[in-house]
Symmetry: D2
Subunit: 243 residues, 4 copies
């Protein structure tokens, strides 16, 4: 059983009628419904929860954290970002969605600005899978179309070890590394750009398939046996005679 | 002319007779002497300088920043770390030395804990160059020996795109990726572990050769033409007829 | 059930009394015994078998190929190397052991010379795991010792995407990336240097644990569903209205 | 002075009126004209030359080899491919253009099938630079358009260390990693897909700028000092007392 926490900033759904019409219960609730499965134990948390929904109790019982945020990145405290990053480094998986590219936690994972180009025009996006052998690509078609989307375009400022699994084409002329994996310490990270607060992209089967695959891929392989980095060994055991 | 700023925490040299005997004017001064060359314009800065030696004036006129720190990593303000990281992302080179692996700036670049094993016993280290074609390896012998050193051992918690240029062997039985390159945005980063506050390692010619090479490698290729990431293009120019 | 073929050159065991004393039935037989497990269906093949032990019948029913060779690399035909490489590119796993670094198939995977330093003196090797989170590291101690071994030292001429899982220390002063992963097309590759024809290294539990883990890691995830690359699409479906 | 050899299969220009109209003297001659510069000493060679234009005399005096081929990949002998690969591994640069992705030499460098999708319809291609800091991107605009091209689409079967410098968008809905760097041993390799035998793409300034930059980037940094991998050291010098 993989313990998943879907964390949502949950602000635009409250402020905007347009967003609420698409995701009346919030994006986190929609994702929880869409990802529901026997091997996943899913819970949600939002920025306005106590402890910003990122308490030790929550993080300690989370195998994979899904992150959605857009307009309140700066409100997440540096201390909470540090704690989430530390959990990742000791094994917790992280799935960052869409506008989460500018979250402090994704920037902290990458060490880069994570900047990109964008355009809101509801144009067509075509997603191509370029690593069909990867667990995140399981049962995902070689290519699929998102009829109306926000454009996210290169140059995407991410580090060289961001391994592209998906690449996107946009009607307006741009391209994007729309799905990339990273690893930091014991923790696996997946960024996936499809998804927007005012298009019903999180109800599209291919998109949910990708996110569900990513959750299973990012789950720590040996939960419980992973410990924090050990204290340094002070004895030169390496060269000892009987060792 | 490459503008180099050697930044030193400069605390142990003041506190400890042992350290002062090795580096009477501070590690920064020793490095400045050792790296002096016609194509380098070198200045030094220390933690107790105004603005922690990391003012806009200094950063804006620095092509490559060399970083030495050990016992006061936590004193460097988060705000200064953010500013240094931003300068790197827009092109400033960074050379992190020895115990700087635990600095906030190197952790910020890596997104990992940067933890490692260590042992202070003055044992022998043998450095192997595993990328002899790399500019940082120019005129560096295939292997050289540091007679007395602090051991730094694996597992070194760094990201997958940390490309090893040097690997070290220690008398006591450990191994270490002792020289690695990274890139974040436009900025090049080199971490090099040899060097310690109480061994005269920064007077050893091979070590100075490596650091000098790294400075030249990390200097931005097109200073002045690098701008911050552009604002998003809002027009779908990509697919335009006449474009 | 993972179908494993252990391929052995099987020449030194016939020629040399010294080698036969260590591996009387051949290295392939020893490995088959050591790796025996309920989830593995193991068979062996040798260079002097019909079709060099690399017939279509064998390759088509192999999920993971283990390769041991030393003195007869040049006898394996280019045509057979091409066929093995093609099987790897469509999903077959490959585990290359010790002196197999100079095999045509490993050179073909790498695109490099795969050269290294070596010394036969029966010295001590200490293996360090630098990717403890990796499936190949499961139940492998952080470090273990091989009492008598042949030294393999850097510079190991392998490509940049050879991800180090293990690094070795040698008594005589060298270091080596002793366990590295690669991927070519759908196929996963693992090179592991420990093992020699005249030391009983393939009876050491840690070494067998690593090889067994590697077999399970390299097994294709979706056997049977992997097809050769599709023919190009000639219609511009991507931009089609209803797609 | 960088010594450049432009190697061309030079078959389609002889057979087809359509191709000859675009490149009357052959693609090699067109490229030689377009790349002419004071720091380059350019010569051409073709498949029907003695020794297939790949004699020792030619290779030994070549710093960077540019490769264009399309319909006669299989005619280049395995022995010549081996010799070219060896030259690359000891420092010669290689620039592979367009349909050269299926050449034996590029497949040999990659270890993969190098397969891709394609469509000949003269559609528009938009090239995006995703590594503006890279020497190959110098003076290349962030994005430029090729009005009529053959589509090359993902999945491009290349290894993980193929670092994307350019990514392309096609009118028909596909995307492609259209410019990637690789390293094998001491040698640098650049693959660039723009270019076709029946569109005048090699007269487009941006395309010539990229290829020219790539030549300068791929030139060996220390010609003459690079030697073949050394013989193994047989003495355990590493741990010697005075070393």
């Amino acid at each position: 059983m993989i313990r998943v926490t879907i964390w949502n900033e949950f602000r635009q759904e409250k402020k905007s009628d347009e967003v609420r019409q698409v995701y009346p219960d919030g994006i986190h609730a929609e994702l929880a419904r869409g990802l529901a499965a026997d091997d996943l134990q899913i819970r949600t948390a939002v920025l306005d929860d106590p402890g910003q929904g990122l308490t030790d109790e929550i993080l300690d019982s989370t195998d994979v954290l899904i992150w959605w945020a857009h307009i309140a990145h700066h409100e997440v405290t540096d201390e909470n970002v540090r704690r989430v990053l530390q959990k990742i480094q000791t094994g917790m998986g992280l799935i960052v969605l869409h506008s989460g590219h500018y979250s402090k936690i994704f920037q902290g994972v990458c060490g880069t600005s994570c900047s990109l180009k964008w355009r809101e025009s509801g144009e067509k996006e075509r997603v191509w899978c370029i690593a069909p052998f990867h667990p995140i690509a399981r049962n995902v078609p070689e290519t699929f179309c998102i009829p109306h989307t926000e454009m996210y375009g290169e140059r995407f400022d991410i580090p060289d070890d961001a391994r592209p699994i998906f690449m996107s084409w946009y009607q307006g002329g741009e391209v994007f590394r729309s799905g990339v994996t990273l690893q930091r310490g014991y923790g696996k990270i997946f960024y996936f750009s499809p998804g927007h607060e005012s298009f019903p992209i999180y109800r599209q089967p291919e998109v949910l398939q990708v996110i569900g695959n990513a959750v299973r891929w990012a789950a720590p392989e040996c939960r419980g046996t992973i410990s924090a980095p050990k204290v340094p060994n002070l004895e030169p055991i390496g060269n000892a005679e009987n060792n």
